[in-house]
């Protein structure tokens, strides 16, 4: 059971860069923060900022964000599955501990899984007050109930923190996705508007035969 430290490297590839100042910065975990364009016509006056180029750049950014989003969703899933596992382990230890404290002397009878669909019965003596806890890295250690619970609860806390962090990153990413989407729509709309204005100007200046594009 690997401890599953959150891989934060971003897959080893260097951070992509985008033209026209589309990304203002990146967070620690490499989430590109999308610049909010307050004035689209002004933005489009930048060197080389033609509709095609800007849309291409935005598209690339959007794809990176979507990939990031799905990575965070997967990571969250992994954390979410791990947490109940630890919780269950804790409840088993607590169950034994409670029995030991109550001073019961009947052994706990349990059916444990030998392999798929085969169970065997075991009598568990809890009065020794110890369990053997798998620590990972091919190591298990015999610990008292308290020690075991201590370790398990620390692990649980860490997983919960990781989940919260992941959740936060996911939300931040989602916001960037939305910003990029709105940005695309606005750049596109701005273009439509400009073409209309041009066409109208042409029509007004007497060149009536000109057709309006799109």
């Amino acid at each position: 059971m690997a401890s599953g430290a959150a891989a934060t490297s971003g897959g080893g590839n260097a951070a992509k860069t985008y033209p026209f100042g589309l990304v203002e910065k990146r967070t620690e975990r490499n989430i590109p923060m999308v610049t909010f364009i307050s004035d689209v016509p002004e933005f489009m006056k930048q060197d080389g900022a033609e509709l095609k180029n800007v849309m291409e750049a935005l598209d690339g950014l959007y794809n990176e964000l979507k990939a990031l989003e799905s990575r965070f969703v997967n990571m969250r899933q992994v954390h979410k599955m791990r947490i109940p596992e630890i919780e269950e382990t804790i409840s088993v230890v607590e169950f034994l501990q409670k029995k030991a404290e109550a001073g019961e002397d009947e052994p706990m009878i349990t059916n444990f899984q030998l392999s798929a669909s085969i169970f065997a019965e075991a009598k568990v003596n809890y009065n020794a007050g110890k369990v053997v806890l798998w620590l990972g890295a091919s190591t298990a250690a015999e610990l008292t109930f308290e020690e075991a619970l201590d370790i398990l609860k620390t692990n649980l806390k860490r997983k919960e923190d990781q989940l919260a962090q992941c959740e936060e990153d996911l939300q931040l990413t989602k916001k960037q996705v939305t910003t990029a989407e709105v940005c695309m729509a606005r750049v596109y709309n701005n273009d439509v508007k400009e073409r209309r204005a041009e066409a109208a100007a042409k029509a007004a200046s007497g060149k009536a035969g000109d057709e309006e594009e799109e």
Partner: protein, 131 residues
């Protein structure tokens, strides 16, 4: 899956300010969160139903005085009292989770409605906020 405001292609001139963008982003996040919470809620409801079924079965099984309860990946033999204790504990944990989810959903629903009202007031029919 995108729950964002999309602007109609023929958007009338309503300027999108930074604060509008922030609201749209927030709306998207809340929308997603509510969907996640709904799924979580459903999962918990299922477990609660299972618990109830188990309880009834145990009550009906008068001849048996011990039951196998799944604990982690093993089954443990417990007496009826122990079983009930086990069930009660589980139930109260789930009930607590459930009421947390409920209150979170209430708060988010309200926030979402507020954002929606604000955004529609500003952008009217040029924005489309998914439900």
């Amino acid at each position: 899956m995108s729950a964002q405001g999309r602007f109609a292609e023929t958007s009338e001139e309503v300027e999108v300010r930074k604060e509008d963008q922030d609201r749209i982003n927030e709306f998207g996040v809340i929308h997603q969160k509510l969907a996640d919470l709904a799924a979580e809620r459903k999962a918990i409801e299922e477990v609660l139903m299972n618990i109830e079924d188990a309880e009834q079965e145990v009550m009906l099984a008068e001849d048996n005085d011990s039951f196998l309860v799944q604990l982690g990946s093993t089954y443990v033999r417990v007496g009826e009292d122990e079983f009930n204790e086990f069930i009660e504990k589980k139930r109260s944990e789930l009930d607590e989770k459930m009421s947390n989810i409920r209150s979170e959903v209430d708060t988010l629903d309200k926030e979402k409605a507020d954002l929606k009202a604000t955004l529609y007031a500003r952008f009217g029919s040029t924005i489309n906020l998914e439900d």
